[in-house]
């Protein structure tokens, strides 16, 4: 069975949207961050699909770069999140609104 590339692209778009909406509605910083990962992977899927359709290796290598960057973001992000949580256990994103206006 062959699945048309359009389906993959649609799936990626749906994943991207789910990630974006998730980021908007969730309160937990970790979950918000996972939503960003979902969006990045949606982009990866798009890259691979296009690479396949264009018969071009570059799109697939791009995925590796994105993965590496995502990993780096995770490391730093978790570090920042932990440093906050150490001061305020159980804090959600909404608890951080001291800076406004």
């Amino acid at each position: 069975m062959s699945v048309s590339a359009t389906w993959y692209l649609t799936l990626a778009a749906v994943l991207f949207t789910i990630g974006a909406v998730g980021l908007l509605v969730r309160r937990n910083v970790l979950v918000m961050f996972m939503c960003v990962e979902l969006m990045l992977n949606a982009a990866n899927l798009t890259f691979v699909t296009f690479a396949r359709r264009l018969n071009d290796i570059a799109g697939q290598t791009a995925v590796f770069f994105v993965l590496v960057v995502a990993a780096a973001e995770v490391v730093v992000g978790l570090g920042i999140i932990v440093s906050i949580y150490r001061r305020r256990p159980g804090a959600t994103a909404d608890d951080l609104h001291g800076l406004k206006g």
């Binding site: 692209l9 990626a12 991207f16 990630g19 974006a20 980021l23 910083v29 918000m32 961050f33 960003v36 969006m39 990045l40 949606a42 982009a43 990866n44 798009t46 890259f47 699909t49 296009f50 359709r53 264009l54 071009d56 570059a58 799109g59 791009a62 770069f65 994105v66 960057v69 780096a72 973001e73 730093v76 992000g77 570090g79 920042i80 999140i81 440093s83 906050i84 001061r87 994103a93 951080l96 609104h97 001291g98 800076l99 406004k100 206006g101």
Partner: protein, 526 residues
């Protein structure tokens, strides 16, 4: 054996000299990081600062060497066309090096004052600097993305560096979450552009767009829009700006100054290259978009700056206003406009570094003395410092005989030449509104009693912004409690850095030739 022969991987030729500044910064950062572990004695902060300054200076020298090279032999690309070495990139290499040198001097005094040991601050700054340089030189969307992250991730950490102030942590989280969000959008944009054009290499995309008439360009334009969102976030264009005031206010002050200068430099370098040079063919599609974004950015930055009491937050909105001005140059979409934008970025980076250096000093121990009241009467207490700050603020206002004036003049002239009269008028209007909050700070420092407006009560300001009592901005009143107006300590390195920024602002404001010529050399390779 046969199999191995087939598997021989042809690695691209790497011209190491062409990426020497970036290599120096990254290598230097790593060296600085391990140097602390190699000796048992505690290394003083000053060592790291001097080291960081020296590394940045070496990068500056390397940038100038490449500059010489490019002047002699013309621009070129390296590493499989993914890095462009052209006048445009080099202007930003030089700018970033200068930012790093000044920032390491300013940060040193802050780190000593706050007792933050270790090389981390400088290491992160250098790494972020290498990212900004790569953004300017990147010739491939993937490399731009990687460079963007190399620049951004250290900035997230720098924003949260000051573990004792909870605002710092809050700033870091906000910056990080929103930054990651925008990065994801950016990457998706790259993927779509790749799908539509078959390449991520900028010149290849450009030549594809030039040679092919795309019948269905929805994916391409959507990708371009997503790229714009990603860049817009980095340079704080409205409506992608909302992190800016919070992060500026929360981050440690020297880091704020550094991040403003660097993110604007890196972000605009890549934005200008991608939109003007690569997607120039599509300018009729993106120009109205930039036009609208420039207008709201100009106005919102100027208007919201008026009602801020926290100086860092005020300058955050001011930086949004400045971003609008730089976008005006791009929205003109002429080479004159691009020159104007590049000049503006250069000038603004220097101005903002100096301004935040003064704010760092006034902030005092604990980095919390940022209320407008802290500046009341500064002109009497410390005339030299106040005068320097006043000049920097006037430069940001765009008073003639400063570089800020020429910068505004160039972008507005470009807009007029491109017949965007409305944009030019709004830009000037926003400058007038923004002038109100810069000048308010200047007046506050010099204790100028502003004339009493008709119908206003005695002592209230007739100056537009400050009339209402709840602003608490009556300069004739007494100093509220909780605001420290003690003598500001001015350490020598910061004093030198401030002097340099003021000197650049004034000297090149009066004698613009050299700087303008230098920036005019910022030609794109393609």
């Amino acid at each position: 054996m046969k199999l191995l022969a087939v598997l021989t991987i042809v690695t691209p030729h790497v011209n190491y000299v062409a990426i020497l500044p970036e290599l120096i910064l990254i290598g230097g950062a790593l060296l600085l990081l391990v140097s602390g572990q190699l000796v048992f004695a505690k290394i003083p902060t000053a060592f790291y600062s001097i080291g960081s300054g020296a590394i940045a200076a070496a990068a500056l020298v390397a940038s100038l060497v490449i500059w010489h090279d490019v002047q002699a032999r013309g621009p070129f690309t390296t590493i499989a066309d993914s890095v462009a070495v052209d006048g445009f990139a080099i202007v930003f290499l030089v700018l970033v090096s200068c930012i790093l040198i000044l920032a390491s001097a300013i940060a040193n005094d802050f780190l000593v004052r706050e007792g933050i040991d270790g090389p981390e601050y400088h290491v992160l700054a250098l790494l972020a600097g290498s990212g900004a340089m790569l953004m300017a030189a990147a010739n491939d969307l993937i490399l731009i993305f990687v460079a963007l992250e190399i620049m951004s991730i250290p900035l997230y950490i720098l924003a949260g560096m000051d573990s004792r102030r909870r605002e710092s942590g809050e700033a870091a989280i906000k910056y990080f979450v929103l930054g990651a969000f925008s990065s994801a959008i950016f990457v998706y944009g790259i993927a779509l552009v790749y799908g539509a054009t078959g390449s991520t290499n900028l010149p290849q995309i450009a030549s594809y767009l030039n040679t092919n008439i795309i019948t269905s360009n929805g994916v391409l334009l959507a990708g371009l829009g997503l790229l714009l969102v990603g860049f817009g976030f980095k340079v704080s264009a409205v409506p992608f700006h909302m992190w800016t005031p919070d992060v500026y206010q929360g981050a440690p002050t020297p880091a704020t100054g550094f991040m403003t200068a660097l993110a604007k430099a890196g972000g605009f370098a890549a934005l200008l290259r991608v939109f003007f040079s690569t997607f120039g063919v599509l300018r009729t599609d993106w120009q109205p978009l930039l036009w609208a974004i420039a207008i709201v950015t100009l106005l919102l930055g100027a208007i919201l700056g008026l009602v801020q009491r926290d100086v860092k937050r005020m300058l955050a909105y001011s930086s949004i206003n400045h971003a609008g001005f730089i976008l005006v140059g791009l929205a003109a979409a002429t080479s004159q406009g691009i020159s104007g934008s590049v000049y503006y970025v250069f000038v603004y980076a220097i101005l903002v570094l100096g301004s935040f250096a003064v704010i760092t000093l006034v902030g005092g121990k604990g980095d919390e003395n940022h209320d407008l009241d802290a500046y009341r009467g500064l002109g009497r207490r410390q005339p030299v410092l106040a005068f320097a700050f006043a000049l920097l603020l006037l430069g940001q206002t765009g008073i003639p005989l400063t570089t800020g004036f020429l910068a505004k003049l160039y972008v507005i002239t470009a807009a007029v030449r491109a017949h965007s009269y409305a944009l030019a008028v709004i830009a000037m209007l926003s400058a007038a509104i923004a002038a109100a909050f810069y000048l308010r700070l200047v007046f506050l420092m010099y204790g100028v009693k502003l004339p009493v407006g008709s119908g206003g009560d005695e002592g209230a300001l007739s100056l537009p912004v400050t009339g209402e009592p709840d602003d608490g901005l009556d300069p004739t009143g007494s100093v509220p409690t909780g605001v420290n107006i003690g003598r500001v300590v001015v350490p020598v390195p910061t004093a030198v850095a401030i002097f340099v920024t003021v000197a650049v602002t004034v000297v090149f404001g009066i004698w613009p030739g050299p700087l303008v010529d230098f920036v005019h050399a910022a030609h794109f390779l393609f």
